[in-house]
């Protein structure tokens, strides 16, 4: 086919643009959150003492950390469906949540006697943490992948990883309201394992299914 012919066909097809990426991701976020939250409320639910917990420093910082991670990762998901490489402020912003966590860990080690460190790190709920976060991330990850398949990501692996990070970050927000282990030592060990696993899975999926 001559290029002129192809141009003719594309011009004839000009009325068929898909909705902009931003609005597609908004729908995906909404649908994914509804499903994840429904699953969360049915199976786990927020901790019974949540009202009391919300005033405490450790719980509040934990919640802020996961909210920051979810927000910074989701803002990157919006960018990653475009054919340009990810960089700039949104990428740098991913560091905010981990840095806050590191500061909290340092503060915890400073304030808490050494014989309590291991107990707090191991916690009581690690098994739930490692299963609930990935499971609750699934609907969100699936929804993001549907949108990304219609997009044009420069790298399928990077796009998949960012989608996995955002999905598990959002799932971690839900989980954090349930989990009784508030110590930054616990958060710094178990949450990254769960979130890292979903991020890696997203990268591997993205490498295969996000080509265009």
């Amino acid at each position: 086919m001559r290029t002129d012919d192809l141009v003719q066909a594309l011009v004839a097809d000009r009325a068929t643009a898909a909705p902009p990426l931003g609005s597609q991701f908004a729908w995906a976020l909404g649908a994914g959150l509804v499903l994840s939250a429904a699953g969360f409320l049915l199976v786990l639910g927020p901790r019974p003492d949540i009202a009391g917990a919300m005033g405490t420093v450790r719980f509040d910082i934990k919640l802020v950390e996961v909210l920051l991670l979810a927000a910074t990762a989701f803002s990157l998901v919006l960018q990653v469906g475009r054919p340009m490489a990810v960089r700039g402020r949104r990428l740098a912003a991913l560091a905010i949540a981990p840095v806050l966590l590191l500061v909290a860990v340092a503060a915890e080690l400073w304030v808490v006697p050494a014989d309590q460190w291991l107990v707090r790190l191991v916690g009581t709920n690690s098994r739930v943490c490692l299963t609930a976060i990935p499971l609750m991330a699934l609907p969100l990850l699936a929804a993001f992948m549907v949108v990304l398949r219609r997009g044009a990501p420069a790298s399928g692996a990077v796009a998949g990883a960012v989608a996995g990070l955002a999905a598990s970050g959002l799932a971690a927000v839900l989980y954090a309201t349930h989990c009784p282990d508030d110590s930054p030592l616990f958060v710094a060990v178990w949450y990254p394992i769960a979130i890292g696993g979903v991020t890696l899975a997203g990268a591997l999926m993205g490498r295969v299914i996000l080509r265009w």
Partner: protein, 179 residues
């Protein structure tokens, strides 16, 4: 044509302006031929592959135009698509290798492609489409008919022609990506 005009042309095209869209697509093709040629030749590929990659870029620009943030300049977006399709072409097709790279070929100005005798990659995949999509794409692209004329000639409604055209173009892109 200055590249600053591309964003305006795309906005007009998205509002339904056929002439603007045609100008934009031709301008993109003209601007990208030289860099695509440079990249392919540098990798030992034959110049015969260049127009295939140009066409794949145009197809991607068309099918993925909703990924352009209209608050931003369009050139980096177009270049991102071109980069992706060049890398893809080098990775997946064995293509027609030409290891005796003519050192002067990189300094040749971008020229109009010779009228191609071969159907090219897009033409090859067009032949493999389901009949309905193929006849519609052929009627509009190759025979140059409008939607209405194609509908009359093929005894379809205009709406059905539109749907078949869009699906045909999407199927072409998918086939090319899986090569």
């Amino acid at each position: 044509m200055s590249e600053a005009g591309w964003s305006d042309l795309m906005r007009a095209a998205n509002a339904g302006d056929a002439e603007a869209y045609e100008r934009l697509l031709r301008a993109i093709a003209a601007a990208l031929r030289a860099p695509i040629r440079r990249n392919l030749l540098r990798a030992g590929r034959s110049a015969a592959d260049v127009e295939d990659v140009v066409q794949e870029v145009l197809l991607a620009v068309h099918l993925k135009r909703h990924t352009w943030d209209s608050d931003r300049p369009i050139e980096p977006w177009v270049h991102g698509i071109a980069r992706y399709k060049i890398v893809d072409a080098l990775r997946r097709r064995t293509g027609k290798f030409d290891l005796s790279i003519d050192e002067f070929s990189e300094t040749l100005p971008a020229e109009e492609p010779e009228p191609s005798v071969s159907p090219g990659e897009v033409g090859r995949h067009l032949a493999k489409l389901p009949t309905g999509q193929r006849t519609v794409v052929q009627a509009i692209a190759v025979e140059g008919r409008s939607i209405g004329e194609a509908a009359e000639r093929l005894s379809m409604t205009a709406g059905a022609v539109r749907v078949a055209l869009h699906r045909g173009l999407a199927a072409l892109a998918k086939q090319l990506g899986q090569d």
